[in-house]
C-alpha cells in the first residue's frame, strides 16, 4: 500500500524484493528465498554468529549494537527454553521502514529469525508487529502459514532434524513497547513496563529464558549476509558500520520516501539529491537525522556520513534511520513541543523523571509557544531535559531529553523570539499553508 520510490544511488539488499510479489512464498523462493537458512543449517552456530559479527551488522532499531555480539551473549546451555523475538513494533516518529519490509518481503524476516534461532539454539521465535499494522499482521500470518505448509517451519525443518516454531504476535498501541524489555512484557500479556537490567534479555528474557531481540530490519539483513558473505556486506558500508540501511526520508522534501542506501551515505546528498531537496524554493532549517529522539542538526552540520559512529561524533545519533527535514517556515518551538507531546503521551509513567519530566516539558512548551513564555522558561526547559537525561528507568526519557536539549541549545534565539507575549513569529508572519505534497 505504501508507495515505493527509487534513486540510482540506492544499493538494494533488504529492499531488493520490494515490489516483486515476494509475499507469495513461491515467488520468494524464486528470488533466492530460504536459501540462506538452508545454508545456515549446514553451519555451526558459532560460524553463523561469526559471520554476522564480521558483517558489521548493527541493530537497526536505534541503539546500533553489534548483532553478532548480541547473539553471542546467549548461553549455549540453558535449562529454560531460548527465544528469538523480532521487534516489529516500529513506532519512532520519522520511521516507516519495517512496514515496507513486512508488506513486501515478510519471508525475509521469517528467514532472518530462523537463522538467529539456529545461531543461538532456539526453537521458538516470535514476530511482534505493532497493533496499528493490522494489514501487515495478516500478511505475516499468511507467510508463516505458508512456510509451515512447505515444511520450512515446525518439526524437522528442511529435513534437518531441527524443530523451529515461529509465531506472530500483535501489539495494541504503545511506543514504549518498542523498548526490548517492555516488548517482552507486552508479549507476556502485561503492561509495557521495561524490566530492570541486569539481567539482560540474552540471559533472562521471555518467560525467564534467554532471548535474542532484534529489529525487523536487522533480521531482514541476516539472510543476505549468510548468502552474500560477511565481507561483501561489510564492504557495502563504512568500517564497523556494515551494509546498507533503509532511510526514511520525510518532512519538507520534494521526494520523500524510503530509500536503501549504503551506511555512511552523506546526509547532505541524501537531502538534496536522493530526497530531491527542499520544495517551493525554501531553504533547509534543520534535520532530525535518525527519528524523533535524535538531536537535531543545523544546515552547517549536515555534511556528515550517515553511520552510527560519524553521527555520534556529530553529537547526534543514527537512530532508526528516520530523516526528518525541516524547512525555514517551521517554528522550532512548535516542533519541539510536538516532539515532547509525543513522549509525554508515550511515557509509560513508571519512573519519576520521565513521567513528570515529559509532562512539565509539554506544559511549559505549550504555554511558551502560545506566547506566554517567561525568560526563565528557556533555562527551565533545558534544566528539566538535562535532569531527565541518563536518570530515567529506560531510554525513553533520554529520547525525550536529547532532542529537547538540542533544540534549546541550537535555537535559543528562536525561543527568545517567542518571549514577552509575542505570538509565535512564524504564525504571525502568516507562514504560508504548509505544503500538501
Amino acid at each position: 500500500m505504501a508507495s515505493l520510490v527509487s534513486h540510482p544511488d540506492e544499493v538494494r539488499v533488504i529492499s531488493k524484493r520490494f515490489g516483486q510479489g515476494a509475499t507469495n512464498i513461491d515467488r520468494y523462493l524464486e528470488l533466492d528465498g530460504y536459501k540462506a537458512v538452508q545454508k545456515a543449517l549446514a553451519m555451526q552456530p558459532d560460524a553463523i554468529i561469526n559471520e554476522v559479527k564480521n558483517s558489521g551488522l548493527r541493530g537497526r532499531g536505534g541503539a546500533g549494537f553489534s548483532t553478532g555480539m548480541k547473539w553471542s551473549f546467549v548461553p549455549k546451555q540453558s535449562a529454560k527454553p531460548k527465544y528469538v523475538l523480532c521487534n516489529g513494533d516500529e513506532s519512532e516518529p520519522g520511521t516507516c521502514k519495517d512496514r515496507l519490509i513486512f508488506e513486501h518481503d515478510p519471508h525475509t524476516v521469517i528467514e532472518g529469525a530462523m537463522i538467529a534461532a539456529l545461531a543461538v539454539g532456539s526453537h521458538t521465535a516470535y514476530i511482534y508487529i505493532r497493533g496499528e499494522y493490522r494489514y501487515l499482521s495478516v500478511i505475516m500470518q499468511k507467510a508463516i502459514k505458508d512456510a509451515y505448509a512447505k515444511g520450512f517451519l515446525g518439526k524437522n525443518i528442511f529435513g534437518s532434524g531441527y524443530d523451529l516454531d515461529i509465531y506472530w504476535h500483535g501489539g495494541a498501541g504503545a511506543y514504549e513497547v518498542g523498548e526490548e524489555s517492555a516488548l517482552m512484557e507486552s508479549l507476556e500479556g502485561k503492561r509495557g513496563i521495561p524490566r530492570i537490567r541486569p539481567p539482560f534479555p540474552a540471559i533472562v528474557g521471555l518467560w525467564g529464558g534467554p532471548t535474542v531481540i532484534n529489529n525487523a530490519e536487522t533480521l531482514a539483513a541476516v539472510p543476505h549476509i549468510i548468502l552474500g558473505g560477511a565481507d561483501w556486506y561489510a564492504k557495502l558500508g563504512t568500517p564497523k558500520n556494515g551494509g546498507t540501511r533503509l532511510f526514511c526520508l520525510s518532512g519538507n522534501l520534494n521526494k520523500p520516501g524510503v530509500y536503501e542506501l549504503p551506511m555512511g551515505y552523506n546526509l547532505q546528498k541524501m537531502i538534496y539529491e536522493v530526497g530531491g531537496g527542499i520544495p517551493n524554493g525554501r531553504s533547509l532549517k534543520a534535520v532530525v537525522p535518525g527519528g524523533s529522539s535524535t538531536p537535531v542538526l543545523l544546515p552547517e552540520e549536515i555534511d556528515v556520513p550517515m553511520d552510527f559512529d560519524s553521527l555520534a561524533k556529530a553529537g547526534t545519533m543514527l537512530g532508526s534511520g528516520g530523516v526528518v527535514v525541516l524547512d525555514d517556515t517551521i517554528c522550532i518551538v512548535k516542533f519541539a513541543l510536538r516532539t515532547i507531546k509525543f513522549y509525554q503521551h508515550e511515557s509509560c509513567g513508571w519512573c519519576i523523571p520521565c513521567r513528570e519530566g515529559t509532562d512539565w516539558l509539554k506544559k511549559t512548551l505549550t504555554r511558551f509557544h502560545a506566547g506566554a513564555g517567561l525568560k526563565k522558561d528557556i533555562d527551565n526547559i533545558y534544566y528539566l531535559a538535562e535532569n531527565m537525561l541518563g536518570k530515567t528507568f529506560c531510554p525513553l526519557g533520554d529520547a525525550a531529553a536529547m532532542p529537547t536539549m538540542a533544540f534549546v541549545k541550537k535555537f535559543r534565539k528562536e525561543f527568545e523570539d517567542h518571549l514577552e507575549g509575542k505570538p509565535c513569529p512564524f504564525e504571525k508572519a502568516g507562514a504560508a499553508e504548509p505544503v500538501m505534497a
Binding site: 504503545a174 514504549e176 503492561r191 530492570i196 509525554q344 503521551h345 508515550e346 511515557s347 509509560c348 509513567g349 513508571w350 519512573c351 519519576i352 523523571p353 513521567r355 513528570e356 519530566g357 515529559t358 509532562d359 512539565w360 506544559k363 511549559t364 504555554r367 517567561l374 526563565k376 527551565n380 534544566y383 528539566l384 535532569n387 541518563g390 536518570k391 530515567t392 528507568f393
Partner: protein, 792 residues
Amino acid sequence: MADVTLTVDDKKITAPAGTLLIEACKSVGIEIPSFCYYPGLSLQGACRMCVVKIEKMPKLQTACTTVVTEGMIVATDNDEVRQARKAMVEMLLGNHPLDCPVCDAGGECELQDMAFSYGASESKFIEAKNHKEEQQWSPVVYFDRPRCILCYRCVRVCGEGMDVWALGVQNRGVSSIIAPNEKDHLECEECGMCIDICPVGALTSGAYRYKTRPWEMNHVGTICTHCGDGCKTTLGVRRCDTGMEIVRGDNRDKSGINNDFLCIKGRYAFDFAHHKERLTQPLIRKNGKLTPATWEEAFELIGKRFREIRDEVRDHDGGSAIGVIGSNRTTNEENYLLSKFARVVLKTNNVDHHRTADFPALAAALHGKPGKTASMREVLNAPAILLLGNDPTNQHPLLAWQIRTNVRLRRAKLYVINSAPIKLRRQAAGFGMVPAGAEAKAVAFLAGDDSLLDSLLDSKASDSMTRDAWIGLRDKIRAEQNMVIAFGSELRGHDIEKLVSFASTLTGAKLICLGDYANSRGASEMGLYPDLLPGYEPIASADKFQKEWGNLPAEKGLSLPEMVEAAKAGKLKALYAVGSNPVGRLGIDPFVFSKSFVVVQDMFLTETATIADVVLPAANAYEKTGTYTNTCGDLQLVKKAGEVTNTKPDFEMMVRIADAMGSDVSGLVPFGSGTHSDMGQTRGAQSGEADSHAVWLEAHNLEPKMTPFDPMAILDEIQRVVAGYHVSRVNLLAGNDQHLEIAESGASAIQNPELIVPANDDLFSSGTLGRYSKTLNSVFENKSADAEVAAD
C-alpha cells in the same frame, strides 16, 4: 556467601556477595534515599531517588538494583547525585499538592523529608497541577489521587505481601494511577498495609484521617488485643474528655515480631474503647434492675456476698459453690492473680476459661522433649512449614504473613493439610485436602499408619488427592528438616501426643499450637483450669503451690460446663466472670444462673453482664500494663496507652474484692519491702522461713513493688514460680519478645477435648471487642452489602 569489599564515600566497607548496594550502605549507616525501594518487596527502580555514582559507569546507577561487586567505588552524596535527587523531588512536587498543612502524612511524610534534605524549595513551574478527585475505596481506605507519587509500594505489599492483589496500576505516563480491583472500590482483606506503607498521604485511613497531627499524639508500643499472634502495635493516643483516646494503630517502627505487619483488627479495631455503650460506672442489681452505683458500694456488696457464700456453703460443700471464669484477653498477671484469688481467697478450684486450643495437651506431650516449640519469628525463617488445620489468613493473620513472606523471600516449603481449600494453599508446595474432621487421621497417616489413607480420600472434594499423591506428600514432609508444624484446634488431646511423637521422628521439627485470642496461651499457662495451676501444674500434685500460696482446695474443680450443670442444680451460688462472656460466646442459657450471685467485670453489658448482680466497668488491654503470651509462647509486654475515666483494670478489681472480703492482700500480691522486720515472713506459707520472694527479687536486682495494685508485683511472682517464665526482665521491658519453654507437665495435664470451643472469628470479627468496633462493623456491613448486590 563470601564477602566483597567496596568503597563507599571513601570508606571501605564489606558486605556479603549478592547484597544490594542500598542495603550494604545502610548496614554501615549510609542512608540512601528512596521511595519505591522497600525491603522484602520486589525491586522497581522507579523513583530514581537512590541514584549514586559508581566509578567506571557512565550514568548514575540506582543503588536499589545494583548488587555490590568487589572493588566497586561509590559516591552516594556528591554534587551530581544531590542534583539528580533534587530534580526528582522538584518534578514530583510539580504535580504533588502542597496541602501538607491538612495532610494526614504531614510531619511523617517521606516526600516532605526528601524535599527538606535536597532543598527543592523553589518551584520552577507555573502551570496548574494535574488534579483528580479523591476517592473512598472502602470504609477504611481513602485515596487522594494527586498526592500519589507512584512508588508502587501499596501495589506490592497488597499483592506480594498479602497475596490479595487488589491494587493495580492503570493508564500510563502522567495519567498513571493506582486503581482498586472493583473499579471504584476495594474488595480485599482491609489490612490497611497499603495505607501504612504509603510514603506520602495518598492513601489515608478512614479511622484516622483529619483527626489529629502526628506530633500531637503520644506513641505507645503495646501488644494487639485481638488474635493470638501477638503483633506489636504502636498506638497513637491523645488526651480527650474521658481520658486518653487511641486514634491510630500501626507498627511503622517495625519493632516486634510482626515487623510492619498488622491486620485490620490490629490497625483499626481499638475503637471499641470509646464506644458509647462502654460501661463507666459499676452497676448493682436493685429491684431486678441494674442500677448505677459507687465503686465502694459494689466492692462492699461483692466482698460481703462472696465471703458469705464461701463460708456458709463451705462446711457443706467445700467452696465448690463459687465458679470463676477467666479471660483470654486479660494479662498473664491478671490470669495468674485470678487463679490464685480463686484458690486462696474464694477457696475454690472451679476455675475455667473459654478454651480455644489444647495447650495443656502440648505441654503434656512435650514432657522430656525440651526446645520443641517454635516462636513466631522462627516461622519467618524455617526452611519448611507444615500447617495442620486452621485458616491462618483469617484466624492468625500474622502467622499467615510470616508463612507467605518466608515462602516468597526464602523459598520455604509449605505443606497444608486442611478440610477446606484455605487461601494459604496458594503458597503451598503440597496441599492435602481431607474430609472434615480427618486432620488427626492425616497425622496418623504421616506417622506411618497406611490403614488410614482411605479415610483421607475425599470423594466429594474436587481437589481430592490420589493415594499416590498422599504418599508423595508424606515423603516430602518426612524429608524436611527443621520444619515448623503449626496445628489448629482440630487436633486435641491424644492426637497432639501423636503429632508430637511424629514430629520427634523428624530432624529439628518444632511445634506451634494455635489458640484464638490474644492471651489464650497465657490464660492456659496461668492456670485458669479446674485441675491445673500455673505452669500446667496438676492440682493433684500441687506441692509447689501449696507452699507458695498456702492451703489450696485439694480436689479438682468444675469445668465451665460442669459449673453450668451445678448452677442448674442450684449448687453454684456465685459466679465471677472476669472479662469473659460465657453466656454470649458459648451459648449458655442465661436463666441457669438466675439463682447465683453473678459478678461480671467487663467493658460492655454483654449477655453475661445483663444477668449479673454486679457489673464492674473494666479497662481493656490497651488501658493497662502487664504481659501477654502469644500462641507460640512468646512473652511480650503490654503497655498502657489509652484510658477511659472511671474504669479499672481487672487486676485492681480483684485485689479490691479480696480486700473487701477481708482477706490479707499481701498474701495475694507480693508488695511492699521484703526487708522489713519480719523479712516478709508473714507472707510465706511457713512462718519463720525467709521470704523467698524478697530473696528472689534481690537476686534479680528488682525492687519490691510498692502497691498491691501493681501488676508487676505478680509478674515478679510469675517469673519466680511459673515454669518457663524465667526470662530476661530487661528484654521484656525493652519491648522485646522472648520465646518461653513450655512447661513439661506430664500426662496428667491432658484435658477433655470436648471442652475446646474454637472462636471461629475471622478477619472482620473478634468476639465482644469486634461487636463494639465501629470500624470492623462498617467494613463488615460494607462487605455484606456487596455480597447482596452480587447475589441479585
